[in-house]
Symmetry: C2
Subunit: 404 residues, 2 copies
């Protein structure tokens, strides 16, 4: 008997122009366009196996070893039913294809990074879900078309349907048909963009993005100005910077927009804070690192950006990563040795860290071990990949191979 | 020989609608109007003695026991020369008065609160300076007229020329002649407004207000929107709330405006942070304290506000202060016993603190002793006072009585 199964992986993306605010909460239509860098799946990815089988009695999904309820009308159910609808269209046009759209599916998904890291995994997760179902269903859909479905799972998931540099065009249509992701430039255009993720310890769970952004929409006097007047110009300018591989402009806009996103969160009632004192200290270090360069007649060498949490992502040309890791390690001593995937430090590894000449070390204090729990060095990456059967997460019977 | 000497004290004020941004940095003309509550001089004040004498060889000023240089063209020199100019006008109209405007002055000033507290003392300081010179020179000038001079020493000093609730009208004239303070309501109109100042420990010196606000003017995309569209409406609404003694509206606007001031600081390049994790925790406590009241059908019971530093000022009707002190002490254990100027706690004093029923204690963690260094309980207060000779800070020879 035929087995209908496919496995795909999808990357994480970190926005440079932030998505914050929905104009339609059910369809997940944003109040402004956004733009992100896709990170390398070799370091951070979600992998998903989907299988359709007439023996299944309902749609089921396991995430990181635990079964998730697929609530009727919820985001998971919406994505699955939308993919089945597209399969049905495909079957209607190709009558010889098996009627998979009539079968229930089993879906198994895993992230290769700890959930505890506080890295938004819904983007890579929904992108992998949609990609695996698209492979299972043999859909001829483009990434932009698939991004329409992923968007309804988690807004920023739509941007994980592409590698490289990706815009999510907000669109204007009430049905969301023009609110999808497009590639601004592939990773090959500017492979030199590396990223250092500083996983910051947090005492408490902050506000969820979903509820937080709607409170901002309802109460911030500044958000509307951002939406109408600031973001459109920044989208244009950062796209140009990417096309021109102009890191200085890219970095400036990225930092401005991270700051402004957190500013409108603060302008919310009651205010929303995602950054903590550690986040602020990392900003101070990057600002000082750039200041030294600019005062010597150079350009910006690094850009910080923060999503809805305290973790910093530092973007920089590869050649600066060694200095940046040294700087972060000096102020945030690490419990575990720095995993050095690009071999910046040789066999000895990074030890106590240090700063570049001319750096004012008083811009931040040295924190205790654990303030930054972990450092992940990665780079701009590719889009979703369809994987071979050997990487499937479902066993012969269509259930998770191992539950951990 | 006649002694020409006068002593005055002036209060601190804490803004509810924040002043942030100058349209003229020399004349200190603001980009938006602001509004503050004057705090009680019985708890926080600057006292200044000024003396004019033909034997003096130059203008001199001692602040908290240390001589300050009066730089030519600087803010101190501007205030002193403006006051001399007004004295000269008075002498021209009253030819029998001594020609004090020809004499040099000695000025001695003290704050009754520690500079290390991080409370802006320039407002009370310049207000006391101007008030003592006005008394020395017997000027018939109104507080609004004197506020034009104090403003040129430190913008927010102009608001310390009145007690109670004070607006600083930004004005439109390029010469600053219509940028002065006016009384919205005297303390007697709403004496029930109390304040708890939480002096928050800070690891490092932040950005000075003077340089910070101009960076915001130059780089924040959101500040202009705030200036043009948000502040005018808030000034109107909070003035109404004060006139109506509507604490709920007063509190809401005060918290919104504190948040928005810090939001535009964050929207600055590079970003400016004044609040730290302790400040954020105090906000979370006040938000939760209000939530419990509102969910029970009540109104807002407290309002936080933060100036350009991490210290919180909590405004509340007097009846809530006991609960508020208990709440703060629970999360921020104090090294020293709470000074209880209004006798909220009786002989036993406040011990471990506590929260009101229904309060979600998980909104903040308990901090270590010292995170909030000190609590100052005060209330709305009166304007500058002319003091008797027994309170003079200058001795018989016109020099500071004691240098500590």
């Amino acid at each position: 008997m035929a087995v209908y199964q496919a496995t795909a992986s999808a990357p994480v993306n970190i926005a440079c122009i932030k998505y914050w605010g929905k104009r339609d909460t059910k369809l997940i239509l944003p109040t402004n366009s956004s733009l992100s860098v896709t990170l390398d799946q070799d370091h951070l990815r979600s992998t998903t196996t989907s299988r359709a089988d007439p023996s299944f009695t309902k749609d089921r999904l396991w995430l990181n070893g635990t079964e998730d309820e697929i609530k009727a009308g919820g985001r998971l159910a919406t994505c699955i039913s939308e993919m089945k609808r597209m399969r049905k269209e495909y079957e209607d046009q190709n009558p010889n294809e098996p009627k998979l759209s009539d079968f229930y599916v089993h879906i198994c998904s895993r992230n290769n990074f700890p959930t505890a890291a506080g890295l938004a995994s819904s983007a890579s997760g929904f992108a992998a879900l949609v990609s695996s179902l698209a492979a299972l269903y043999k859909l001829p859909a483009s990434p932009s078309k698939l991004s329409l479905i992923a968007r309804q799972g988690s807004g920023s998931a739509c941007r994980s349907l592409f590698g490289g540099f990706v815009a999510w065009e907000q669109g204007t249509s009430p049905d969301g048909s023009d609110s999808f992701a497009v590639e601004v430039a592939p990773r090959e255009h500017w492979p030199d963009i590396h990223a250092l993720i500083c996983v910051v310890s947090d005492d408490k769970k902050g506000t969820s993005s979903t509820s937080g952004m709607q409170r901002t929409v309802e109460t911030s006097a500044l958000l509307q100005h951002r939406i109408k007047h600031v973001v459109p110009e920044r989208m244009r300018a950062i796209s140009e910077a990417i096309k021109a591989r102009d890191f200085d402009a890219f970095a400036r806009i990225t930092m401005q927009d991270s700051n402004q996103f957190h500013a409108v969160a603060l302008d919310t009632e009651p205010p929303i804070f995602y950054m903590n004192d550690v986040s602020r200290a990392i900003i101070a270090l990057v600002v000082e690192y750039n200041r030294v360069s600019v005062e010597a007649g150079g350009k910006l060498k690094a850009a910080y950006t923060y999503d809805a949490g305290p973790n910093a992502v530092i973007y920089a040309p590869k050649e600066n990563l060694r200095e940046i890791v040294e700087m972060i390690v000096k102020y945030f001593p690490q419990a575990d040795p720095f995993k050095d995937p690009f071999g910046l430090f040789g066999a000895a590894g990074v030890t106590e860290g240090g700063v570049i000449p001319g750096f004012n070390t008083a811009v931040a204090k040295q924190f205790e071990v654990g303030a930054v729990k972990n450092l992940i060095h990665t780079r701009v990456g590719d889009g979703p990949r369809v994987l071979g059967a050997e990487e499937a997460l479902l066993g012969a019977e269509g259930f998770p191979k191992s539950i951990s």
